[in-house]
Amino acid sequence: MSRLVRARHWLTAVAPCAVALAFAGAPAKAGPADKVDYKPVTDQRLANPEPENWLQYRGNYQSWGYSPLDQITAKNVTKLVPAWSLSTGVSEGHQAPPIVNNGVMFVTTPQAQVMAINARTGEILWRYQKELPPELSQLHPTNRGVGLYGDSVYMTTTDACVVALGATTGKVKWEKCVAPWQDGYYMTLSPLVAKGKVVVGVSGGEYGVRGFITALDAETGNEAWKTYTVAGPGDPAADTWKGDSWKTGGGSVWIQGSYDPAANLAYFGTGNGGPWTPDARPGDNLYTSSVVALDLDSGKIKGHHQYHWNDAWDWDEVSAPVLIDIERDGKTIPAAIHAGRNGYLWTLERSKDGPLSFVEAKPFVYQNVFSSLDPKTGRPTYDQSKIPGINRRAAFCPGLWGGKDWPPEAYNPKTGLFYIPSNDNLCSELAGAQAGTRKPGELYIGIPIDEVLNSLRLRDGVDKSKPFAIGAIQAWDPKTGKKAWQHDFQDSANWGPLLTTGSGLIFAGGTSDRKFRALDGSTGKVLWETRLNSGVTGVPSSYMVDGIQYVAVQAGWGVDAERMLTGINALIPEERRVSVLPQGGVIWVFRVMGEEAAAR
């Protein structure tokens, strides 16, 4: 017997005993976090977060990515300096926002880790890391943040579990695995927490899973409801699938949903259909590449809008829509706005009962697949020559990573602008094949791997002999539906989630030069930038402790940003390539130098 095999046996032999001991474990020892005046998180606080706190993924239920704090301004932002920093100890994609409640920061990282930190000093209060199954494969080794409720902290993991921890102790309260990781299910999203429910969704579309959203009881972890994002028998949309294709239909849920407490509706974006080849699953394939409005109490789908039907381009529409009331033609529209991976900026109208209606959509990057949109429904008509399929090659723009991937947009009520982290001038070319028989936990996309790895193309007409724009931050006015400004990044994609503040600033990283920037939200002018340890794909947040405003973000390149960089490097001349972009996570916290005295 090999040494490895012996080691495996020992692990399997002792692990259940360890679990049993852990369940019967001694009370948690008092730690520094116990001395913190921890303020329980309530529905009321989540619905009306205090300016000094950042209580969830996008700061509020409406997914604005907005902090009302205005101490850091266009005038003093040039004096921004690190207040403290902290290595996370792991590599891969660091995408979670530092989430802050009354001076206690919670940060998740890849490899199922969460740390509680004194948000002012950087002192670690506790750390928890779940032991992941040794044989787990991680297509997306990342995590997008905690959910807070009461005195608990909730985290999803890449073995498809939710862990509830004591906010002041880091001790496990309960753990619930919502699907078998061996079958290809996993989770990366931050939980949406409301009305005593922890709402999460699964990924795994590339493994041929059937996606779903589920609500767990915040106290016990017991399942309250489960709603599939791929319509099956009994669902009104079941006829949008043929045969058994719904069983492997994908529809992953990657990102925390938005929530309207008044209507009691949660809005989740959904991923593409699986396999990638559209002719393997004829039909519209509801509810893939859509937004679904779910009744929070029952999980029932009360409304939906499919951004594009029978996806062929891996354009999952994972970001939850940003909920904004906008003025159009003298009328107030409760809008749901989404910058799509399909390259269109969608404005939908919400209703209190759930149904969503189409208002407007227009391309924010070059898009050559949609030949038209139905003016009433927004349903696109496709250019047939741009649809890859089984034994059918096609080139299309934008490429696989779309006009905007998972990094979230932001909305600033003071500037009145909606901001998009976009990517342009890149296209893809693919030819599919028969996906064959699905094997649990193995890739099931119907596209040969070499095709995927070499799929990236430049848009026709782009002159690669000189630097050209790929990534950008765009500002749009929801009232007029027109673009206000755009700031381009040369030779680099933009994987930077956005934060905007009460002083009209935008903070974002996302470029392959490892820079983290502040921009003027009204003009797009870069006001300040600094180069960090690694590329910044973390969601920035802002908070205040003892009268000082901080801006916090995780640096730590990886996952799709790294994949796309490989593709871009293959397209541009060697002297302009970013051949070394180190991994490794660090939490960075900035403040304005000398502001403490001014604040007091």
Binding site: S2, L4, V5, R8, H9, L11, T12, A13, V14, A15, P16, C17, A18, V19, A22, K29, G31, P32, E92, E123, I124, L125, W126, R127, Y128, Q129, K130, E131, L132, P133, P134, E135, L136, S137, Q138, L139, P141, T157, D159, C161, V163, L165, T169, G170, V172, E175, C177, W181, G441, E442, L443, I449, D450, L453, G558, V559, E562, R563, T566, Q583
Partner: protein, 189 residues
């Protein structure tokens, strides 16, 4: 001072059952079945995928320049070693003189066997380019050189893909000649 909370969770059912039997009932060492073991010397290789899945792999069926082949190790009693993802095997064939000298003892007429599990994040390696002589992983685009002992050609992986030593069996079949050279699965370089 920080406290750390960590415990063993997320175990698959097989591990829990095996472990529970060992620690709580038997009170002694746990013994997994042969299907749980990694490939062993004396195992034969059969096709793991396709219309001929389960049939013995022969040199005649592996042309130079051909596709990557998924293989399963079968013990002398006929038990397929598929209980662990880490037992997954891939085969490629190159011209014998293209196999690095220090690896030739593990290859048979240019056929090289390796762990199918990417050493970066545990995905299944399934891409193969005969032109570049590189294996590739879809998940994060790591590339490996099978003819050079599974050496990393391109990250993010930093650890070699373990080679499985091969021997030639009767009728040109392929046999396992020893354990993986290195630990399958993710890990430090």
């Amino acid at each position: 001072m920080a406290r750390e909370g960590q415990r063993a969770v997320g175990l698959d059912r097989r591990s829990v059952v095996l472990g529970a039997a060992a620690c709580c009932a038997a009170g002694g060492a746990a013994f997994a079945g042969p299907e749980e073991l990694l490939p062993q010397k004396g195992d034969r290789l059969v096709l793991g995928d396709g219309a001929k899945a389960g049939e013995p792999i022969t040199l005649d069926g592996l042309p130079v320049g051909g596709d990557l082949v998924e293989a399963v190790a079968v013990d002398p009693q006929g038990v397929r070693r598929e209980g662990s993802r880490f037992a997954k095997i891939i085969l490629v064939r190159v011209a014998p003189d293209q196999v690095a000298e220090d690896q030739r003892a593990h290859a048979v007429e240019g056929v090289v066997a390796l762990s199918a599990i990417c050493t970066h994040q545990g995905c299944t390696v399934s891409g193969w380019s005969h032109e570049t002589k590189r294996l590739s992983c879809f998940c994060h685009h790591s590339e490996f050189l099978p003819a050079e002992g599974g050496r990393v050609a391109k990250g993010p992986a930093r650890k070699r893909l373990p080679v499985l030593p091969l021997a030639k069996g009767e009728g040109g079949t392929l046999m396992v000649a020893g354990s993986f050279v290195g630990k399958p699965g993710p890990g430090p370089a």
